[in-house]
Amino acid sequence: MAVSFTAAEQLARRHRFQWWETLPWIAALAAFFAFPNYLAFATQVLITILFALSLDLVLGYAGIVTLGHAAFFGAGAYTVGMLASHFGWTEPLSGLLAAALVAGVVGLVSGLVLLRTHGLALLMLTLCTMTLLEQAANMGAAWTGGFDGIPGLSFGKILGLFSFDVLYFRTQYLYVLTVLLICFLVVRMLVYSSFGQSLTGVRENLLRMHAVGAPVRIRLVIAYAISAALAGVAGGLFTQATGFVNLAVLGLERAAGVLIVLILGGYGRLYGAFVGAVAYMVLEHFLAKAYPTAWQLGIGVVLVLVALYARNGIPGLAETLRGKRRSAP
C-alpha cells in the first residue's frame, strides 16, 4: 500500500528558500532606482519592516501580545543617539551592535519579570514598562533631550567607505536594506530551527508543551530578548537614518502602529511584516499628501474593512477570496 508523505515532505522542506522569496528584495532594489526622491520615506518603511519583523517573532510565533515593543526600539534609538551626542561615538555598525545589546538586555530583564503573566495583564505590563521608560527619558532630558530630542546627529562612514547622504538618503536606504536582509535571514533561520518550532508549540498548545517537559518559560524569555535586540537594531537604524531622536521613539503611537502593521500584514507568516509595513505606510503617506486633514478617515475605514472581511490581515483577504482556510504552519 503506497502511503503519501506529502505533508511530512512539505514540513521537512519548507526551510529551503523558495524562488519567490527573492522577489521582495528585488522589488526593494528596484524601488531604489525607480523612486530616487522618496528614499527618505522608503527608508522609514524598511525600518518599520524590521521593527515589525522583530514583533512577529514574539507575537506571531510565541503568541505574546505586547503593546510595549517600542520600549526596545526606543532603547536602541537612544543608545545610538546618546553615544553619538555625548561620547562622540559615531561609527554606525558598532553603534548598531551597542543598540542591539542594550535593547536585548532590557528585553531579557523585562521578559524575566513580565513573562510570568499572560493575556490582558501581560499586555498592560508591557505597556507600563514602555511608558515608564518614556517617562524616564523625559526626566533625564539632560541626556536624552526630552521632548525636543537630540538634534543634528551625524554619523561616520559605514565601513569607512560610505558616507550618509543627508538630502537624498541613498546611502541610508541601501544600508538599512542590507541590515534588514541580514536580520531577516537570522529570524528566518530561527523560525525554522527547533527553537522556532518549540515557540510555535508554545503558542499553539501550551499545556502539551508543559506535558512533554519542554522548558517553556526560558524559551519565551530568550525569544523575547532576541526580539528586543532586533527591535533595538531597528531603533538604532532610525536614529542613524533620521539624524534625530526624541521621546516619540518610546511612545504608544509607535508601539500601536507597528502592531497594526503586523496584524494588517498577517502575523506568523514571516513576510507579514513586509506586506503590512508597505501597505499601511504607503497608503497613509499618499492619503496624507492628498488630504492633509482627512486622511485618518480613509485609513480608519481601511482598517475596519480589513478586520471585518479578512481574517489575519491582508493575506487573509486574499485567502477568503480564494476560498481557502489558514492552516497552522
Partner: protein, 404 residues
C-alpha cells in the same frame, strides 16, 4: 508554512501607486512648502496658522509682485520630528519647493534643520519656540517667538510693575516649559525677586488634573504664580483650577506668557480668569488699525465666532516675510539671497512693528503686558504696558544652548 507572494505583488503595486501622485515642478512660480500638524493633537493650532496664511493672501493679493505663489501643504502628524523631516525631504526633492514654512512643534523644526542646511532652502518658522532652534541652521529664520521673549518680559514686569517679591513657577515638563521657567527666573531674580518653588506639571501630551500642583503652589503663598502650559486645552484647565481652588481670594496673582490666554480659548475661560496678567507679542484685542482690519478679515472668512490668535498672526507675518523675499529677489529664489534679504527686515504687522535681527535671524518685536477684564459680558485683554523691540534674551545673554 503557507506559500504566499503578497509581499512582492503588493510592494510592486503599492510603489506604482506612487507614480500617480508624483508632481512635477512648474517653471515660473515660487513654491512654498507648508509643514503643519494638520491631524492629531496639533490640529487646532495648525488650523490657526493655516488661516493666518490664508488671511494674508486675502488681504494682500498683490503682495508678491506678480509672481505666482503655490502653497504645498504637508501634515507633520504627531510631534516626533521624523514625520516632519520626511515631509520636508519630499517637499525638497520631489515637489522642489523654494521655501519651507510652518513648524508648530520644536522637534519638527529641530529635526529638519540638517536637511535645509544641506539642500540650502530657506526655512521660515511660524511657531516653534525653543530658543536655540535658530542656531541649528543658517537657513532658518523665525517670525514667531522664542520662549524667552514673553518669559523674560513677564519676569521683569512682575517685579517692576506688579511689585512682586516672591514667585512660584508652574510649568509643563518639556523644553518650552523649561525655557519659559529659565527666562522668567532669570529676569525675576535679576530684578531682585525670589523664586520659592518650581513645580513641573506633567507633560504636554495629556492635560493633567492641575489641582495637586496648584494646591502645592497655593500652600507656598507666593505673590505671583507664574504658569506656563502649551497653548490649547491646558490653558482652560489652568483657569478652571485657579478659580476652583480660590487662589485669587488667597491673594495669589496668576501671571504667564500669552500662551495661557490664547484667544481661541479665551471666552470659555469664564470669570475665573478676570484679573489675569499676561505678557505676549499678540492678542486679538490689540488696538492698532492694521489689527482691526486683520481681525475683521479673519472673521469675514471664517465666521463671526472665530478669532485670530498669536498663531494666526504668526502665519500672517510668515507669509509677509515670504512675500518680501519674493519681491526682493523678483521670483528667483536663491537661498543666501533669501536669508540675507530677511536680515534687518522691518514690517508693520497686526502685532505692531516687527523686524528680524540680522545676527540671530530671530524676531524682534513688542511685548504687551495685558490684564484680562470683562467688558460687555466678554473677556477682553486690556493693555497696561508695553516693552518695545524685545529681542530673544536667551541669545543676547548667550545662555546655555543659545550660544551661537
Amino acid at each position: 508554512m503557507k506559500n504566499w507572494t503578497p509581499a512582492s505583488a503588493l510592494a510592486a503595486a503599492a510603489f506604482s501607486i506612487c507614480s500617480l501622485f508624483s508632481v512635477g515642478a512648474a517653471a515660473q512660480t515660487v513654491k512654498v512648502g507648508v509643514v503643519l500638524p494638520y491631524t492629531g493633537v496639533g490640529a487646532e493650532l495648525a488650523q490657526q496658522v493655516d488661516r493666518g496664511i490664508q488671511t494674508f493672501m486675502t488681504m494682500n493679493p498683490n503682495a508678491f509682485g506678480g509672481v505666482k505663489v503655490e502653497i504645498v501643504k504637508r501634515d507633520s502628524k504627531n510631534p516626533s520630528g521624523a514625520e516632519a523631516k520626511t515631509a520636508v525631504q519630499e517637499l525638497i526633492t520631489q515637489e522642489k519647493v523654494d521655501i519651507l514654512a510652518g513648524f508648530i512643534y520644536s522637534p519638527d523644526a529641530i529635526a529638519s534643520a540638517q536637511l535645509v542646511t544641506e539642500a540650502k532652502k530657506p526655512m521660515i518658522i511660524m511657531n516653534a519656540g525653543t530658543a536655540w532652534i535658530t542656531t541649528l541652521s543658517p537657513m532658518i529664520s523665525r517670525v514667531s517667538f522664542s520662549m524667552w521673549h514673553a518669559g523674560y518680559a513677564m519676569g521683569e514686569a512682575a517685579v517692576k510693575q506688579m511689585k512682586a517679591k516672591t514667585a512660584v513657577i508652574g510649568y509643563t515638563d518639556y523644553p518650552p516649559g523649561k525655557d519659559s521657567l529659565d527666562a522668567f527666573k532669570r529676569a525675576f531674580e535679576g530684578a531682585g525677586g525670589k523664586i520659592i518653588d518650581e513645580i513641573p506639571m506633567g507633560g504636554p501630551g495629556q492635560v493633567p488634573d492641575f489641582t495637586p500642583f496648584f494646591q502645592r503652589a497655593k500652600d507656598k503663598k507666593p505673590d505671583v504664580f507664574f504658569v506656563f502650559v502649551p497653548a490649547g486645552d491646558h490653558t482652560l484647565a489652568v483657569m478652571k483650577t485657579y478659580g476652583a481652588l480660590g487662589m485669587r481670594k488667597a491673594g495669589i496673582r496668576l501671571v504667564g506668557p500669552g500662551d495661557i490666554t490664547q484667544d481661541i480659548k479665551l471666552q470659555a475661560m469664564g470669570d475665573d480668569a478676570v484679573g489675569l496678567i499676561t505678557t505676549h507679542h499678540y492678542n486679538a484685542d490689540l488696538d492698532n488699525p492694521l489689527n482691526k482690519r486683520f481681525v475683521e478679515s479673519w472673521k469675514k472668512s471664517f465666521g463671526a465666532a472665530s478669532t485670530p490668535d498669536f498663531m494666526g498672526v504668526q502665519g500672517y507675518d510668515g507669509m509677509a516675510a515670504i512675500a518680501y523675499i519674493v519681491t526682493t529677489l523678483k521670483g528667483k529664489i536663491d537661498p543666501d539671497g533669501a536669508i540675507n534679504a530677511l536680515r534687518g527686515w522691518k514690517y508693520n504687522s497686526p502685532r505692531g512693528p516687527i523686524s528680524i535681527d540680522p545676527r540671530t535671524r530671530d524676531i524682534v518685536m513688542n511685548e504687551y503686558i495685558s490684564e484680562l477684564v470683562k467688558k460687555d459680558g466678554r473677556l477682553v485683554q486690556k493693555n497696561i504696558g508695553m516693552l518695545p523691540a524685545v529681542k530673544d534674551m536667551c541669545k543676547e545673554l548667550a545662555e546655555g544652548r543659545c550660544k551661537q
